[in-house]
């Protein structure tokens, strides 16, 4: 069912390597510079966590990657597809989940998933069992025929996540996906994401919960004032900062404070 396995016709190929996402010189200015010439490379099959203080440019970066915001300058390549040149082909292989679950109140979770699968052009014979399985693994099976209007934020977030997974994307971009989830729901979501990464999917996620980044991510990027100030595995970050046994929280505070002082 992988919609993006076969590369669509006419795709503008930038670089045939194993990178899932390549960002070069990405820049966006609103009333101030939000993202400042950002370079980022995320490998296929990697779980990448982007952390940073409020207003650092995390969400703006990811919204540009997802095609929701046009950058002022720079290039974005998704599995070799130039996302600015051929956004439709790039969107075919990725999924976006925002921190505020945007679903339709008057649709049931199953109807929502049917709609999303239809938008990505997945055959119903393929998408229906996947949708049922996703709802079941996210604990929404009993609610699959209920309209979403009465759902809690956590339930809505899970429906939105199921929507992101129903078309089997190769790159999943999540902006604070665990916000507002209870412990059980958060574990469901984390489990599902880890499972996807094990199956070869690439996940890039912003989070304020440093413990999640520490536990789940293969690599962590620290962003401040629109720039990537540090990047690597937790061990590499510790080495870069000269503290072998410090926590990610301490590292994060040290890096952000250093950037603010600069």
């Amino acid at each position: 069912m992988v919609a993006g396995d076969a590369k669509p016709d006419g795709v503008a190929v930038m670089k045939p390597d194993n990178s899932a996402l390549e960002v070069r010189g990405l820049t966006k200015r609103f009333d101030r510079l939000a993202v400042d010439g950002l370079d980022l490379t995320i490998h296929a099959g990697e779980f990448y966590a982007l952390v940073g203080p409020n207003g650092a440019g995390k969400t703006t970066t990811l919204r540009m990657v997802a095609g929701l915001l046009r950058p002022d300058a720079g290039a974005v390549s998704i599995f070799g597809i130039d996302a600015l040149d051929d956004p439709v082909a790039a969107k075919q292989v990725m999924a976006w989940v925002s921190d505020e679950p945007m679903i339709y109140d008057k649709l049931t979770p199953l109807e929502y998933l049917e709609f999303v699968a239809g938008l990505w052009g997945i055959a119903p014979t393929v998408s229906e069992p996947v949708a049922q399985e996703l709802l079941s693994s996210l604990g929404l099976e009993a609610h699959r025929h209920e309209r979403c209007e009465g759902f809690s934020k956590g339930m809505r977030q899970k429906v939105a996540l199921a929507g992101a997974l129903v078309h089997d994307p190769r790159l999943i971009i999540l902006d604070e996906p665990l916000t507002g989830l209870d412990a059980v729901s958060a574990r469901h979501v984390k489990g599902l994401l880890s499972e996807r990464v094990r199956a070869g999917c690439t996940v890039i996620m912003t989070t304020h919960i440093l413990e999640v980044a520490e536990r789940m991510a293969d690599r962590i990027g620290v962003i401040a004032s629109g720039r990537l100030v540090a990047e690597g595995t937790l061990t590499e970050l510790r080495q870069q900062n000269g503290h072998a046994d410090t926590s990610l929280e301490d590292l994060f505070i040290a890096l952000v404070t250093l950037q603010a002082a600069a």
């Binding site: 649709l107 052009g121 119903p124």
Partner: protein, 508 residues
């Protein structure tokens, strides 16, 4: 804080909320627009004096005592205004039940809930009455200027109407809650508001058509048959009419009646108001409607989008009530069509503008819901479709819905007058397309639930949409009667739409 102080504080709080809600609706939530909104409102109120003069200026000299026919016409007009107030009040009460986010705070406070909700009921009554006063002032002004200060008592009648309309709206809504539960009340109340708002005029028109073959409701009101069956001139049924014309005794009685009615509703229902509000709030958290189990359907991406839009439109309570109202307004012309079928009466011409205008208005609402009222904009924007194919699918939905609703009427018209049917059909398409285009040019991201405030996002789009519907309706009517004037009207309307496009925001 004493109980009385707490209540006056809560009353101030309620009034402040009502004022800010109203201001936000007028300004689209932009503080900088406040002055412009106030100036615009004053201009609008001043402008309303012109149609008010045209409509009721000639009645300013009327003096008591009146004959039965005059009393019937005045009473029917007052009753019509009252039904509109009642319709507005039912909508307001339902909104308060479902939308206010301060219930937890109020319920957890140490104040007596019955008292707090009595204040809330009074605040609703005040808001309804103020709105009615705002719209009735130009009409009463015209009567005062033309007929003297005795007409000032009409303001008192408006207040009495506001009090009674609010009282009945609260009683009806709470009874609906008890009878059919919170899940259905919101939907039923919206339908009820639509029917009450339009029902009286339509009923009069239907009676006039059935009895005299005309759309004019005054024909039935001034008929001898109605006068024969009406109560005597000194009956209490004429109190509102007499009070309006300066009978202070009747006015005092009406005001007392309104106050007693509202007071009784406060005494009986303020406790239940709290329960009902809690039920409504709880419904938002736990009430869930189930859909039938069925298999996933295939098709293109655009088909998936269209299917989703149709499903959401079908499940939209506003749309159902709005469409019902449009259909209700079409009942009299349809009836006229049926009655005039044999003799091809000139009255048939009246049907075309009604149909064209209804199509334009409905298309505008549908277009806002599908184009601007997208609840999952990120999902649609990150889907592998070009923005133009998304817009195209949404526009198709609007035009298909309009076609489904209006085709039977145009087809019926074709049986009576093929030429008129062609003109009407083309005008329906142009009117619907124009309204949809305006919504597309002025689209802003919003939630579907913000539909009530859609007019606030762009005044230009709102006026353009209204002028477009009126313009194409006038064009259709003129083409059937004075073709040259119809062509000129069509050119003017097309120019207005072109100017609107010129002023629309530029997009990438």
């Amino acid at each position: 804080m004493s109980s009385a102080t707490a209540l006056s504080w809560f009353a101030r709080h309620e009034l402040r909320l009502a004022w800010r809600e109203w201001l936000a609706m007028m300004t689209g939530g932009r503080r900088k627009r406040t002055r412009a909104a106030v100036i615009g409102l004053l201009f609008f109120a001043a402008f309303l004096h012109v149609p008010a003069w045209a409509v009721i200026g000639r009645f300013a000299d009327l003096q008591l005592p009146l004959d039965k026919s005059s009393l019937i016409v005045i009473s029917a007009t007052i009753f019509l205004a009252w039904t509109l107030m009642l319709s507005q009040a039912i909508e307001s009460v339902t909104r308060v039940f479902y939308a206010r986010a301060d219930l937890d705070l109020i319920m957890s406070s140490p104040a007596t809930l019955a008292n707090l909700f009595s204040v809330r009921i009074a605040a609703i009554a005040l808001a309804i009455t103020m709105m009615a006063l705002l719209f009735s002032t130009p009409f009463i002004d015209v009567l005062v200027i033309g007929g003297g200060a005795r007409w000032l008592t009409a303001f008192g009648v408006v207040v009495a109407m506001g009090l009674s309309a609010t009282a009945i709206a609260i009683a009806v809504t709470i009874l609906l809650f008890r009878l059919i539960g919170p899940a259905r009340t919101r939907f039923v109340a919206q339908i009820l508001a639509a029917i009450i708002g339009a029902g009286f005029v339509i009923a009069l028109q239907v009676a006039a058509i059935m009895s005299y073959g005309t759309l004019s409701r005054f024909t039935i009101l001034t008929s001898g048959t109605v006068a024969d069956h009406a109560p005597d001139v000194d009956s209490i049924w004429w109190w509102p009419a007499r009070a309006t014309m300066g009978d202070s005794e009747a006015l005092l009685l009406l005001l007392a009646l309104g106050l007693v009615l509202l007071g009784s509703v406060m005494a009986i229902f303020s406790g239940r108001f709290a329960d009902t509000a809690i039920d409504a709030a709880a419904y938002g958290r736990s009430g869930r409607r189930r859909a039938k189990e069925r298999r996933f359907r295939g098709g293109s991406r655009q088909q998936a989008l269209r299917r989703k839009e149709f499903m959401l439109l079908w499940r939209d309570p506003w749309l159902i009530s709005q469409t019902l109202m449009q259909l209700l307004y079409l009942v009299p012309p349809a009836l006229l069509l049926w009655r005039s079928f044999a003799d091809s009466s000139a009255a048939l011409t009246l049907i075309s503008p009604v149909i064209v205008m209804a199509a334009g208005q409905l298309a505008g609402g549908l277009a806002w819901l599908t184009i601007s009222g997208e609840d999952a904009p990120d999902l649609v924007a990150t889907a592998p479709l070009t923005p133009s194919s998304v817009s195209r699918a949404k526009i198709e939905v609007v035009l298909i819905a309009v076609a489904v609703i209006f085709s039977p009427l145009v087809a019926a018209l074709a049986s009576a007058s093929p030429y008129q049917a062609v003109i009407t059909g083309v005008a329906v398409i142009i009117s619907a397309a124009s309204a949809t285009a305006i919504q597309l040019w002025f689209r802003v991201q919003a939630r579907r639930s913000q539909f009530r405030r859609r007019q606030t996002s762009s005044r230009l789009a709102t006026f353009a949409e209204a002028f477009s519907s009126i313009g194409w309706a006038a064009t259709a009517a003129l083409l059937l009667t004075l073709p040259l004037a119809g062509l000129i009207s069509g050119l003017i309307t097309a120019s207005l739409i072109a100017i609107t496009w010129k002023f629309s925001p530029r997009r990438e």
